[in-house]
Symmetry: C2
Subunit: 457 residues, 2 copies
């Protein structure tokens, strides 16, 4: 970024940078809608009780209070005990999954299942800001959620949708890394390690502390034997862009029913991706997604050459997103870190907007009284989708052209006293007669476009 | 609304209602961009000191604290005194003007002035929720701000832009009521009432307490004589859709330089509006916009037949939006209450979405193994902008059609074993041969559209 945010962790964009963000958001929306996902938004606040239900680290949560109020908890109904009050107190959501689960339960009677939704909103976490991590950031989520049972095929479909969405963005190549909890858990059980959650937590640290330290953890904390630790690490080292991971796992000689189910599921995802989107999906058996409540497929995504940014898109399958009485709502979904992506695009100028304003044409004024006629010309152009401004004062033409140049407006329009019109491309200096009823700028000048920078890696 | 929000004051929309909101937001964005306004967003939080700088009622403000923190003020740099700490504490913004002013000052070196921006974001106020007033709501603001001097013509332009934007929405007829602070202040001074702010505050109560009570206020609280009170009320009773208000004011026999300037300014706005957008703008000399910091033109908007909703779009001219050293940034702008409008549209079904999902076509499955071929058909359709879903399981065709029907998807696609394709309009039952490479639904079925309900007032 050229500038620092005036409040650390709360990035803001200049108009030209915002065009890059808008392009990313529009592209995601379009892809999601083409795949039949409906837009929803949820309120920015949840009750503290709702947010902490799944045991997330509560340190990250921003709680609200009314400035003039002694007791926090504005907006929620007062309850009798102070515990209940604390639960009902309001806080900003830290992701879009918890609010979506509440929304599904509250509106189950009004939704057609399997319900496909996308949700693009800001979330807040009171974490220490660093490169790729803000306190306020935008997420773009897609999920499919069923009432009762959700066919596995959706795990395959969502991988394909997200690959299509990310491929349409002005970003470097990416790898969607896929694993399967059943595969991993079945394997650990098959080698005699019963605390599968504990093993996953240790394996999740591979990138940070390395294989040897993970082996130590497995042995000291989980009582694994040397050969069990070696087997767990061998599984985590498997990485293939096709379905050959299946043979590699089988070669480790472990048999377990859950492992077989996981292998078959992961094979379906990778096989479909290898044929429909070759090179973008990897079976990566080290992916654990430590704290999350996934039960099957898990996804993570890195930008090639920008691995230090962390995952730019993660998700998975959860057997029970929410429950309502005896109904259970399983789902599968992914979340794109829009702000993380846009910060990197803008910060390293991986892509730039072709101009900083929507305006294609400035209608100049020959004299102050011609403003109404200038508005007529502008209205004619806008009627054909051409973004147009009218000069506010009849300054010298040179000054009006300079104004357009300063704002990055490519064309200036002149109307002579005799009512004839001319339009000038102020970049080339080319000027020619033009008719307000028919003139159109070249397609590439109609709207600002976002283009991958030529030098971008 | 069909349902009540689960948290009072925090409305949430069902997918079909959200389509109405999206249509409103897309329409506003398109209009603003056609007029050369650039999109920006500001962070949701400001420091408490910044928010209270203009003396807004602090009761409305939601302050943030980290859940695990004793001291509020997360995110801001610690300062030495506790007053400074309270100032630096973070709170949610309650409008988009205060954040915009900060943004302009912080980024003045990067912006081309006059800077034209639109900003569509949620804001939060801890007020008592009621019809037309939420605690979380979306505003859509446009402003033009200059570095130094902003020609009056922008006051005229912004009225025209906002009339065009509102006219494009699926809402009943509206009236943009315009007045001018200079006109009112000059008049009050001309009749010998020096406390013009006091008079404005009293006149602002006209709608609520009536003319007689306002006259009493003017006399008892401001020491006005009977004839001064009558003159002030006579001015406030003037309302014309053309520039005849000028004669009516002159007929009251008051002369004052500021009054003349205000008359001339208001005349320019109303004259342009009467010729370019007849019937949508009214000179209404009772509009005071009590607490706001406007210095010239003031705007307010009511929906005809929905006056009880309050103003759906307000704004005005401020001589100094912000200052930076000896630089001053005057501006003029308006803010549309999107949530207020959408709540009314949805609540009274003034307009509805033609279907609840983006999907136009469901590709059915003859057998489970044909899913990859179905994805090929879907990809071909999506390539031409047709939103398409693929069935997840090869259930009986009747069940697959029922699924489409339940979700409101108009077309179901069938691929026979011999590779031939048929598409069925499940509303009419019409079925015919189709080619994935060329078939297109009728234009009105391509995307969900938002249409004004036939019975809407």
């Amino acid at each position: 970024m050229a500038r620092n945010a005036s409040l650390s962790g709360f990035p803001e964009w200049l108009p030209q940078e915002r065009l890059v963000e808008l392009h990313v958001l529009d592209t995601l929306r379009r892809t999601f809608e083409l795949h039949g996902f409906s837009s929803i938004e949820t309120r920015a606040v949840e009750t503290v009780g709702q947010l902490l239900r799944k045991g997330e680290i509560d340190k990250e949560v921003y709680r609200l209070s009314r400035l003039q109020e002694e007791e926090p908890g504005a907006g929620a109904d007062a309850k009798s005990t102070s515990d209940a009050k604390a639960d009902a107190a309001l806080a900003l959501h830290f992701d879009l999954t918890v609010p979506f689960a509440r929304y599904v339960v509250e509106n189950a009677g009004y939704l057609a299942f399997p319900f496909r939704r996308y949700q693009i909103q800001k979330v807040w976490r009171g974490e220490r800001p660093q490169d790729g991590r803000s306190r306020e950031f935008t997420q773009a989520d897609i999920d499919v959620v069923a009432d009762g049972e959700l066919p596995f095929r959706y795990d395959v479909e969502l991988a394909l949708v997200i690959v299509e969405a990310l491929s349409a963005l002005p970003i470097p190549a990416f790898k969607l890394r896929v694993n399967n909890r059943r595969l991993a858990e079945g394997f650990y059980r098959g080698i005699g390690l019963a605390d599968t959650a504990g093993v996953l937590r240790s394996i999740d640290k591979l990138d940070k502390i390395g294989a040897e330290a993970v082996a130590d953890l497995l042995k000291t904390e989980l009582g694994a034997t040397d050969s069990q630790a070696r087997a767990a690490l061998a599984l985590a080292s498997i990485r293939t862009e096709d379905t050959t991971f299946v043979e590699q796992v089988r070669a480790l000689g472990v048999t377990n029913e859950l492992l077989e189910q996981g292998l078959s599921e992961l094979e379906q995802v990778v096989s479909a991706a290898a044929s429909r989107a070759p090179g973008s999906v990897v079976a990566d058996l080290s992916i654990a997604r430590g704290l999350d409540y996934y039960t099957g497929t898990v996804y993570e995504t890195v930008l090639v050459g920008h691995e230090n940014l962390g995952s730019i898109c993660s998700g998975g399958r959860y057997e029970s997103l929410a429950t309502k009485g005896n109904r259970s709502f399983p789902g599968v979904g992914l979340s794109i870190g829009v702000t993380r992506l846009v910060s990197r695009i803008v910060g390293q100028q991986l892509a730039v907007a072709s101009r900083s304003v929507p305006t294609a044409v400035l209608i100049s004024l020959a004299d102050d009284n011609s403003w109404p006629q200038a508005q007529d010309v502008a209205a004619a152009l806008r009627g054909r989708g051409i973004a147009t401004e009218v000069a506010a004062k009849a300054e010298k033409f040179g000054k009006q052209i300079k104004y357009a140049d300063r704002r990055g407006i490519p064309f200036v329009w002149f109307t002579a006293e005799d009512g004839s019109h001319q339009v000038k491309d102020i970049r080339s200096g080319d000027q020619s007669a033009a008719d307000p009823a028919s003139w159109t700028p070249p397609a590439e000048d109609l709207q600002p476009s976002v283009v991958v920078a030529p030098g971008a890696p």
